[in-house]
Structures are given as structure tokens and as C-alpha cells.
């Protein structure tokens, strides 16, 4: 589904990604963990063209987003098509504050996928039901808790029928209680066999939900494997022992 090959990214002198490779197979849930500044979020942002790689290749669902050895970045329309294969959930939600919850979920369906108003509305209510928020459809984002806002953001991504979902530290802006309600939703999606790539600091969650865990540090993948393998790796143990664990 997703193949990242040897990507490099630097900002001025700061080499954020130094040859990262990663594969996500159909139906697989991959968690990316690692200390702050290890390049996890940058990696994720490169997949969706929020950042541009300096070197490397990214292939999404058989289409090349970028290949610096060949044609570079895909042209505009292809790029948008590839981006639409992925749903993206931000740490800071980034809901549209001037739209109601419903409109947040219908807007891109109507404008980008050209779905009819009624169809977009019905589908929006369906995905909002999935995240448990159909009763909030007519409210504005500022009226909701952080956890609810993040669930709306998940619904907004789901409504575009992406082949894969990317989560960029989806609970880092939330308190522990709200974190759990968002994690439950993500777990529910994992159980539907959706393809997901989750950057997270929630170790217990990664251990429980991920099929595979990738540990990054200093812009490279230090180890990857099943949760059991990765969480027993000495470097990962050293990292996780520094992180306070909620459970």
C-alpha cells in the first residue's frame, strides 16, 4: 500500500530524515514511535506532500508520489489524486472553525469528490455516527471538547474514503481522559482492517493495536518488527523507560 524508500530531508543544516525506508501493507496497522525530534512527524508529513523530500522515493497504492532518481514529484493532478488516497489526522485537529461539524465533513466531499449535497450529507452523518458524534452535527468546532474535535477530524478524513489513514500524534494535544476516547475510535478502525500509519507517544496503544512497530531516532529507523520484538529491543527499552507510562 505504501512504500517509502530511502528518503532524506533537511532544513538548512538540520538533517531530519537520513535515509528512512518504510513499508505499510494493505490492512496493516503500523505505529511509529521514538523520541521528540526523531523525524517521525516529518516522515508522515512527507507522505502527504506537506513537506518535500530532498531524496528518495515514495509510492502510494502503486502510484509514485516522488522519485528523486526519476521524474521527481508527480505533476499537480496526479499529486492530488495520490494525496487523496490517504486520510490525514493532525495533532492539532485543524478543523475549519467557520463550518459546522457537518460542513467540516461534507465540504471536501462536495468540492473535491463532487458528491451531491444529499449524498455527502448522508455519508457525513454515517461517519460521524461511527465516531459517536452524529448528535453534534450542527455545532461549531469551538463548542466541542478536544477529544470530540479530534473525532470530527477523523470523520472528516474517513468521509473521503481514503485507502489508508495517517495519524500524526493524534492524542498529543489531549488530556489523558480525552486521549482514551480518541484511541478507542482509532482502535475501532484498526479492527475494520483499515491500513493505518500512526505516529504516537502512546506506547500501550502502539503495543496493543499495531501489527508492526517502527522505532525512529535521529532521523533513521533504528528497529522495526512486531510490538513484542520492538518493545524488548534494548534501545527501545531505554527510550520507553524514560517515558512516563499512564498504565
Amino acid at each position: 500500500m505504501l512504500s517509502v524508500e530511502n528518503i532524506y530531508k533537511r532544513y538548512a543544516d538540520n538533517k531530519v530524515l537520513r535515509g528512512v525506508s518504510l513499508k505499510v501493507n494493505q490492512g496493516e496497522v503500523v505505529a511509529v514511535i521514538g523520541p521528540s525530534g526523531s523525524g517521525k512527524s516529518t516522515l508522515l508529513r512527507c507522505l502527504i506532500d506537506l513537506e518535500r523530500v530532498d531524496e528518495g522515493r515514495i509510492i502510494v497504492g502503486g502510484e509514485t508520489l516522488v522519485d528523486t532518481q526519476a521524474q521527481g514529484y508527480a505533476e499537480k493532478t496526479a499529486l492530488r489524486r495520490i494525496i487523496l488516497k490517504m486520510g490525514f489526522v493532525f495533532q492539532s485537529f485543524n478543523l475549519f472553525p467557520h463550518f459546522t461539524v457537518l460542513k467540516n465533513v461534507t465540504e471536501a466531499q462536495e468540492r473535491v469528490l463532487k458528491r451531491g449535497r444529499q449524498e455527502a450529507r448522508d455519508y457525513a452523518l454515517q461517519v460521524l455516527g461511527k465516531v459517536g458524534l452524529s448528535d453534534k452535527a450542527s455545532e461549531y468546532p469551538y463548542m466541542l471538547s478536544g477529544g470530540q474535535q479530534q473525532r470530527v477530524a477523523i470523520a472528516r478524513a474517513l468521509a473521503m474514503d481514503p485507502q489508508m489513514l495517517c495519524f500524526d500524534e493524534p492524542t498529543s494535544a489531549l488530556d489523558p481522559l480525552l486521549t482514551q476516547e480518541v484511541l478507542r475510535v482509532i482502535k475501532g478502525l484498526a479492527e475494520e482492517n483499515r491500513t493505518m500509519l500512526v505516529v504516537t507517544h502512546e506506547m500501550a496503544f502502539a503495543r496493543e493495536v499495531a501489527d508492526r512497530v517502527v522505532y525512529m531516532q535521529d532521523g533513521v529507523v533504528r528497529c522495526e518488527g512486531t510490538p513484542e520484538e520492538v518493545f524488548s529491543h534494548p534501545e527501545v527499552l531505554a527510550f520507553t523507560s524514560q517515558t512516563p507510562q499512564p498504565e
Binding site: L50, L84, F90, H98, E107, A108, P141
Partner: protein
């Protein structure tokens, strides 16, 4: 020597407020002057508000060949006196183009350029105040840059610029008095003429009251607009 209203050696003699006929004819003249003032005001807003947006977008362009000239234009428009710009357009442009501009046209051109420069910077500030995450969210949902601007950025921009724009609009009402310098007879000029003919400050104060009333209405309308956008936060 000088006759201040209500003060001085003798009680200041009223020349308009106690003379209904004279007052009526003054008001009729002021009304005509007000027409000129309001058409300058209206045309300036009509053209400078959208032109400001174009300038703001050019000012934010990634292309230096687009950005730098606009930056220079805004610097000059904001950095030199409006009255000088009015003179320039009124006297210099006819020399260049070889045709005289109609007085109102020339003055409107100068005002539009000046106000568009200010509006451009207000818009630019508003665009920058919309969080980057909004653009990013629009991008990952597949919106084109144009769609993202019109549907996502612009509505949030408008909320943020209502109050700074109201400042400029109010200033514009008063700035219209500057065109007296090129001989246009508008509200202030009518009042000044009347004041010097009869030797009384009353016409000027009446004109002042008219400016105040216009700006009270404008303040009220912008306040309403500001409250309208309170339906969401962020």
C-alpha cells in the same frame, strides 16, 4: 482680532443658527458638497477594497518579480502624503498621457491607489493570522489552492479584518477633505467658503457634525458586521 464662538470680548454673534433662511441655503450647499464627498468615498471603497486583495496576493507571491514591485508600490503609497499623491495624479499624469483627467476621476485614482495599499497590508495581516494548519488541512483533503483560499481562508480572513478595515474606512471619510487642495468643491470646501464669506465658524462646525454622523453610521455597521462573525471562534 479673532472671534471664537461663545467667547471673546463680546458675545459671539451667531450668523447662521439664528437665521433660518441663511441656514437653509447653507445646508443646501452643504448637501451638494456632501454628494461630491460621498461619491469620492464610494468610488474609492468600491475599487480599493478588491484592488487591495489583488495587491495582497501579489505581495505574498513566491515570485519575486511579482512581489517586489508591489512591495515598493505599497511603501511609496503608505510612505508619502496622500495630498502629494493627489497632486501627482492630478497634475503630473496629464503631462505624461497628454490628456486631462476629469477632476473626480484623477482624485479617485489617487485615493484608490493609496487606500488599496493600506487594505493590502490589512489583508496580508489577516491571511497570516489564519493558522497554517487550515491550509494544511485543506491540502490533505484535496482542495486546490484556489478552493482553499475561497472556501477556507477568505471567510476566516474577513472575520479578522473587519475592525482594522473599519479604521481605514473612517479615516477615508475624513481624508476626502484633502481634495480641496486641487480645487474640488466638496463638503469641507463648501463649509470653508461659507465660513470665510460670512466670517463665522458655524459652517465648519456643522460640516464637522455631518462627518461625525457619517462615521457614527459606519461605526455602527462595522460593529454589526463584527458581531455577525462572532458565531464561531478561532
Amino acid at each position: 482680532m479673532c472671534s471664537l464662538p461663545f467667547f471673546g470680548k463680546r458675545f459671539y454673534p451667531m450668523k447662521y443658527l439664528n437665521n433660518p433662511d441663511r441656514l437653509a441655503s447653507l445646508l443646501a450647499q452643504l448637501w451638494q458638497g456632501l454628494g461630491v464627498t460621498m461619491s469620492l468615498f464610494g468610488y474609492t471603497l468600491l475599487f480599493s477594497l478588491p484592488l487591495g486583495l489583488v495587491l495582497a496576493l501579489m505581495r505574498m507571491s513566491r515570485n519575486k518579480a511579482v512581489r517586489y514591485p508591489v512591495q515598493l508600490f505599497i511603501l511609496v503609497m503608505r510612505g508619502t502624503p496622500l495630498i502629494l499623491q493627489v497632486f501627482t495624479v492630478y497634475f503630473v499624469l496629464p503631462m505624461i498621457f497628454g490628456t486631462a483627467f476629469e477632476r473626480l476621476t484623477a482624485v479617485v485614482i489617487a485615493f484608490v491607489m493609496n487606500y488599496a495599499a493600506y487594505f493590502a497590508e490589512i489583508y496580508r495581516g489577516g491571511v497570516q493570522a489564519v493558522p497554517e494548519g487550515q491550509r494544511e488541512a485543506a491540502h490533505v483533503l484535496g482542495f486546490t489552492r484556489g478552493q482553499a483560499f475561497v472556501r477556507i481562508i477568505l471567510p476566516q480572513l474577513i472575520k479578522r479584518i473587519v475592525l482594522p478595515v473599519s479604521n481605514e474606512v473612517i479615516t477615508l471619510v475624513k481624508d476626502t477633505a484633502l481634495v480641496t487642495a486641487v480645487g474640488m468643491v466638496e463638503l469641507y470646501r463648501v463649509a470653508r467658503n461659507a465660513a470665510s464669506t460670512v466670517g463665522s465658524l458655524e459652517p465648519l462646525f456643522i460640516a464637522g457634525a455631518i462627518y461625525l454622523i457619517i462615521n457614527a453610521v459606519i461605526s455602527f455597521l462595522f460593529d454589526r458586521a463584527n458581531r455577525y462573525f462572532a458565531y464561531y471562534q478561532g
